[in-house]
């Protein structure tokens, strides 16, 4: 196997399944439902399945500021990853901190609600003074600056914000910087918190499935919103390294076909997957399995499956999608799904596709319906986002 790449030495996660990678993996193994039913707006009678972090409503109410809630979740994931990586505060000093998020809209929303007395909310009741205009759009970068200061990180601090590929691209950026020797190690964080504004936005595009996410299924209707935070600690690969997981290939390309959907023929998905595989120096037949993006919208699953069929010329390896378990966590999905996938491999299995039941004849290929035994090899991880932003990562296990 190739010795290229960057080691992953610690992972941590907080998701709708609770805190910890172990809890997340157990939920996945058992196929437990972690969704809640919520209403989006008084004007929409339908209720939607959403994957909230457990206890978030109480936590938001308890928190005196938005940052108190957000930082607590992020630091919980970081602490778990640090314990696994056997990292202490000295380790953090010259580490880079790279956060991927679509923008921390929740922070602005909480501030707005606190100031504007708006009781009907996905985030719980908040009361306060009236403000003349919304305090929206604080910019995504201040959270990384704040977290870096709290952790005592002196290395580069970067926030990548490319919608649903944000934290996948944060891993890609970290991988490149470590491989080139610009930095020795990085903590990559993917963080996303559900906001009423974002849910309403996806609803306006008719991209939400009230019944939850059904990736690649004949009856799929769209997204199940989710929120999560994951931390991934990456460091330079040494020749003598015995570490089990490494990120050894990555590619990011922009599909300029349409701002909200990929080319339906799968050409864009094909291009980015092939580029990531070529970077490793392997062939498509060397891929053991794929963690698909599997967003469960009719068009995007068709496009991704089309790309997989093209790349593997009708002989696709097993593929699966994780959004049925934890929802679509937008900018966090790169980090949380990588952490979940590694957790499952570590526990000895490649997870089945929760939510999938019936093959779509228009797609012609089906994701995993049962867990498979994990084996050493190369795994392709796909992440596709709005703005045609497509990223594929190659994870080496063993």
């Amino acid at each position: 196997m190739s010795n290229k790449g960057v080691n992953i030495i610690g992972i941590g996660a907080v998701s709708s399944c609770g805190a910890g990678v172990k809890t997340l993996v157990e939920h996945i193994r058992e196929g437990l439902d972690s969704t809640s039913l919520v209403s989006i707006s008084p004007s929409i009678p339908e209720r939607f399945k959403v994957s909230f972090i457990p206890g978030r409503e109480e936590a938001v109410k308890r928190a005196k500021t938005a940052e108190e809630f957000i930082d607590a979740v992020i630091l919980k994931a970081v602490n778990e990853a640090m314990i696994q990586a056997e990292a202490d505060s000295k380790f953090l000093k010259d580490c880079a901190l790279i956060i991927g998020s679509s923008g921390f809209i929740l922070e602005a929303e909480i501030e707005y609600r606190i100031k504007n007395l708006s009781p009907k909310s996905l985030i719980g009741e908040q009361k306060g003074e009236t403000m003349p205009a919304p305090l929206a759009r604080l910019g995504a970068g201040h959270i990384a600056s704040r977290i870096a200061r709290r952790l005592g990180i002196n290395g580069p601090v970067i926030t990548i914000t490319t919608a649903c590929t944000s934290s996948a691209n944060a891993m890609l950026a970290a991988g490149g910087m470590i491989e080139r020797g610009d930095i020795k190690k990085a903590i990559v964080i993917g963080a996303e918190f559900i906001s009423a504004v974002t849910v309403s936005g996806f609803n306006s595009l008719m991209l939400l499935d009230p019944g939850g996410c059904k990736p690649f299924d004949a009856d799929r209707r769209g997204i199940q919103m989710g929120e999560a935070c994951a931390a991934i600690i990456m460091e330079k690969k040494e020749k003598t390294s015995k570490d089990r997981y490494s990120l050894c290939g990555w590619a990011n390309l922009c599909d300029t076909h349409n701002v909200v959907s990929s080319r339906l023929n799968g050409a864009s998905a094909y291009d980015v997957m092939l580029k990531a595989i070529k970077q490793v120096g392997i062939e498509p037949r060397d891929v053991t399995a794929i963690k698909a993006h599997g967003i469960a919208t009719p068009d995007n699953d068709t496009a991704e499956a089309g790309g997989i069929s093209l790349l593997f010329d009708g002989a696709a390896p097993p593929f699966t999608a994780l959004k049925g378990y934890i929802g679509h966590t937008l900018g966090a999905c790169g980090a949380i799904e990588t952490a979940a996938f590694i957790g499952c491999l570590d526990a000895g299995f490649i997870p089945r596709t929760f939510g999938f039941s019936e093959i779509d004849p228009a797609i012609g290929i089906a994701p995993l319906k049962t867990h498979l035994d994990a084996k050493r090899g190369y795994y392709l991880l796909n992440f596709f986002g709005f703005g045609g932003n497509n990223t594929s990562l190659v994870l080496r296990y063993g």
Binding site: S41, P134, L135, G139, G141, I160, S200, G388
Partner: protein
């Protein structure tokens, strides 16, 4: 000196200011907070696309990137990465979305407001207008957003991930000032601004207008206590150490102070770098998170008769500082 492996050249540049000014002749010194210009016609002329549903923020960004591409001596390579940066992103559409969803009527958001507010939308339109389908990254790191995007672009060119890079930054202002100040925190004397700045970068020196010398970070003050001096002198020593090795006798040297640098930092730097002169670009664009992009790109507003060095220095509110150095080449006959 922290010299990089291979030089990265500046193939073209564009800086678009609040009055849709894109050339030296069009620049006007701002006396008060500017209003936003309408860029719709400019975007239509530049791109031949119907981008009428994009927001003002995307319009500024597409305009700047298109002007930079048009100023290149050669067609842009298809393997050009886009490294876009913004401090706040799409402010106006996001505010409007908040009002639609969380206002008194608790209504629904318009699909266009939502799509425009998504963080990858602007770089998508930049790519679409340029017909580029290569790497596309958006960085948002407050006052240092552009510097970080530039560093990612520089290293991706150096290691061959991309042949060329279109590195840019943009931010938009919003009124009233009191609201915008919550997002950007300016002093009363500082004029708020907006605009975009873009550099086309590549490894090939043919027809290059300049060279990217360095993008370097200076740690926050709490990490600078290496001697017995005070924090300011330590900061000045480290900043001057980053710049001075590049200074030569035969090149004029300019300091471009970012909007977070205060008087004592600027004066201190000038004391340590007596060869340097101040170039105050902020008077043309106002203060915004990615003003550095405007400042560095505007260095190339006019052809240079002699080579010159420019060093942009800015800090964020957490005390981190980044220095960007570029060399402007004399215009080719």
């Amino acid at each position: 000196m922290d010299k990089r492996k291979d030089p990265v050249y500046i193939l073209s540049a564009s800086a678009v200011g609040p009055n849709a000014d894109a050339t030296a002749a069009e620049r006007r010194v701002l006396k008060t907070d500017p209003e936003s210009c309408d860029f719709q016609d400019i975007v239509r002329q530049l791109t031949m696309h119907d981008f009428r549903r994009i927001g003002h923020f995307s319009e500024i960004s597409v305009t700047g990137s298109q002007i930079a591409i048009r100023r290149m001596a050669h067609p842009i390579s298809p393997n050009t990465g886009i490294y876009f940066s913004t401090g706040l992103g799409e402010v106006k559409k996001t505010v409007s979305m908040f009002e639609q969803v969380l206002g008194h009527e608790e209504g629904l958001v318009s699909p266009y407001s939502f799509v425009n507010s998504v963080s990858s939308t602007t770089s998508f339109y930049v790519a679409k207008a340029a017909r580029i389908e290569s790497r596309n990254i958006t960085v948002s790191q407050e006052e240092l957003s552009f510097e970080i995007a530039l560093r990612l672009a520089q290293t991706d060119i150096e290691d061959g991930t991309v042949d060329c890079a279109l590195a840019g930054g943009a931010d938009e202002l919003s009124h009233p000032r009191s609201e915008h100040m919550r997002r950007i925190k300016l002093e009363d004397r500082q004029i708020m601004g907006e605009g975009s700045g873009w550099l086309c970068l590549g490894k090939n020196s043919r027809n290059a207008i300049g060279e990217l010398l360095m993008v370097k970070e200076i740690p926050a003050p709490e990490c600078l206590c290496r001697g017995n001096g005070d924090v300011l002198s330590e900061w000045l020593n480290v900043a001057a150490d980053a710049i001075s090795p590049w200074i030569t006798e035969h090149e004029k040297t300019y300091l471009l102070p970012g909007f977070r640098l205060d008087k004592k930092h600027i004066e201190g730097l000038l004391n340590r770098l007596p060869q340097a002169e101040i170039k105050n670009y902020l008077k043309y664009c106002g203060c915004f998170h990615t003003a550095a992009a405007f400042g560095i790109a505007s260095v190339f507003d006019q052809p240079h008769s002699e080579p010159a060095l420019y060093f942009h220095v800015n800090s964020n509110l957490y005390g981190r500082t980044m220095v960007v150095g570029v060399r402007a080449f004399p215009a080719q006959p």
